[in-house]
């Protein structure tokens, strides 16, 4: 099994100190975890990951809900737009990262030109500690928006039309329909996307590795990249494994929520 066994192995490694080369793994107990908790770099990585996740998931869910409400219609132009916003989802993150790096080029990038159109000062995007993480959020929102929107559209189509017809008779204003009917009826979809997007955001790696290498000044370092660096660049296998266990813990908590919810959903049917 390539899923179960590695996880136990990772637990075991996280209690050892090992550099990948030497024949002996030294048992160190909880030392790695202690070191992690006292490492400012790790704490920053952790908070970066959470910050990035909350921002990405929040923004993309709200935007995609509105896009879905708008695009949930028949007609070629809506089909075209659905395809357009979905297209980043099937493109390799490598391409997307490189493309956006080019557009975010502080000197010759397209985005600074767009800013100048609106009379705004140029941004350094990835090169500045204050803007780098927002730049990564921008890229990932751009990538997942189409997927979320289409899932929302699928959810919207499963809401019975009679509910809206009744509301139309009562002349309910649109925002009331949104908060009283649409959002509650969509709650399974919202919950599903929340879980999936959160778990995915925890695992962000490609954009970090290609676009920023965790910099500047550690401001965009995230958990998977931290594990990768400590494992493959610094050869601190035990230490990296301990960070892996912590990531697993986060994903596990979110996943357990998912299962509890799924069980409930099946129950109600």
């Amino acid at each position: 099994m390539f899923f179960i066994y590695p996880i136990f192995y990772m637990f075991y490694l996280s209690f050892t100190s090992w550099d990948l080369v030497s024949p002996e793994k030294t048992f160190v107990g909880l030392e790695n975890y202690k070191e992690l908790i006292h490492s400012p770099d790790f704490l920053q990585t952790l908070s970066n990951t959470l910050f990035y996740t909350v921002l990405t998931v929040g923004i993309s869910l709200v935007l995609s809900l509105f896009l879905a409400l708008w695009l949930n219609r028949k007609g070629n132009r809506y089909r075209f737009l659905q395809g357009a916003i979905f297209s980043p989802h099937i493109i390799s993150l490598v391409s997307i990262s490189l493309l956006w790096m080019w557009m975010m080029d502080p000197q010759y990038g397209l985005l600074n030109w767009v800013l100048s159109l609106f009379g705004m000062p140029p941004s350094k995007w990835l090169a500045d500690t204050s803007s780098a993480i927002y730049s990564l959020v921008l890229v990932s929102v751009w990538k997942i928006l189409g997927y979320n929107t289409l899932i929302f559209i699928a959810g919207l189509q499963s809401i019975p039309k009679e509910v809206y017809e009744a509301a139309a008779l009562d002349q309910t204003p649109w925002w009331r329909k949104l908060t009283r009917i649409t959002i509650p009826m969509l709650s399974p979809t919202i919950f599903f996307l929340l879980i999936i997007n959160t778990v995915n955001s925890f695992q962000v790696f490609d954009t970090v590795q290609i676009m920023t290498q965790g910099g500047p000044a550690n401001s965009t370092n995230m958990l998977v990249f931290f594990i990768y660096q400590n494992g493959f660049d610094f050869f601190k296998i035990g230490y990296a494994s301990a960070a892996g266990v912590i990531l697993l813990l986060f994903v596990g908590i979110v996943t357990i929520f998912h299962f509890l919810f799924l069980a409930k959903k099946v129950h109600y049917r």
Binding site: L13, V94, Y108, G146, A154
Partner: protein, 272 residues
């Protein structure tokens, strides 16, 4: 009211398509420019002359033929193996209640939930312990069984009416034959959907090939193209974008022809 809404909607359509499609156009335009034209501000839109040699330069900056062959080989090998393993597993999960069913299916669900980004380090150590790093095995084997594929196929196998199977059994068809001759053809749309999903995912994958290899001979296109940026120092954007095109074009062609199928493939994975 209607008259105001129409133009507003058209502006919305224009803005949204611009935001999502223009970056790809920009990639294409940049890939055809000379290096000087990428370093002007404000940006120059249309290249004054078309520089096809950017593609040649990108292609010859590394063993791109090997990358391409590896990409095709790895993605297809994974696809074939996933079919071979998913079909019997899904059939068993859909039609039989055997001993350990719950545990095995539980494992499948857990595998569905645990991303490779968590297990890569122990898997790498396992593989390097067996001296398999820089072979195709660590690229392909961990993906040989797809929990997602099993799950998806099981759903569609469960919808095949039991009567058809009983009729086949009366005709003394073996279970094996029932599976390949009845179940598989009936689940064809789902198989196509899953095939597209799997191929695109592994064609695009960067993380796993990066982690599991450190030599060019077995590396795939995404890793090669990401390295292109490093070797060009991040300056020659026209070359980097040309490399990017090599990676993106096959997927865009597939997307163009099978857009509805692909969207279904990916959205299916969500809605289940």
């Amino acid at each position: 009211m209607r008259k105001i809404l129409k133009p507003v909607e058209w502006i919305g359509i224009a803005i949204v398509s611009l935001i999502f499609l223009f970056p790809f156009v920009w990639m294409m335009l940049t890939s055809l420019k000379s290096i000087d034209e990428t370093t002007v501000f404000p940006p120059k839109w249309i290249p004054s002359s078309i520089h096809w040699e950017n593609f040649v330069q990108a292609w010859s900056s590394g063993p791109f033929l090997a990358y391409l062959i590896n990409s095709i080989f790895v993605s297809l090998a994974i696809l074939v193996l996933q079919f071979i393993t998913a079909v019997p597993a899904a059939y068993a999960f859909a039609r039989y209640r055997f001993k350990g069913y719950k545990i095995l299916f539980g494992f499948t669900l857990i595998a569905l939930m645990i991303p490779p980004q968590i297990t890569f380090l122990p898997v790498f150590i396992q593989m390097s312990g067996w001296n398999l790093i820089n072979t195709y095995i660590p690229l392909i084997l961990p993906y040989a069984a797809s929990a997602f594929g099993i799950f998806l196929l099981r759903q569609s196998f469960m919808q095949v009416p039991e009567e058809i199977l009983e009729a086949a059994r009366l005709d003394q068809a073996s279970e094996w034959k029932i599976m390949w001759k009845i179940m598989v053809p009936m689940a064809r749309p789902v198989l196509v959907t899953f095939g597209l999903f799997s191929f695109i995912y592994h064609w695009n994958d960067y993380f796993w090939p990066l982690v599991m290899t450190n030599q060019d001979v077995v590396r795939t296109l995404p890793v090669g193209i990401a390295a292109l940026k490093a070797s060009e120092g991040g300056v020659a954007w026209n070359i980097v974008m040309a490399g990017n095109m090599i990676l993106v074009i096959p997927i865009l062609i597939i997307f163009f022809f099978a857009q509805r199928q692909i969207i279904r493939a990916f959205v299916y994975s969500g809605v289940k």
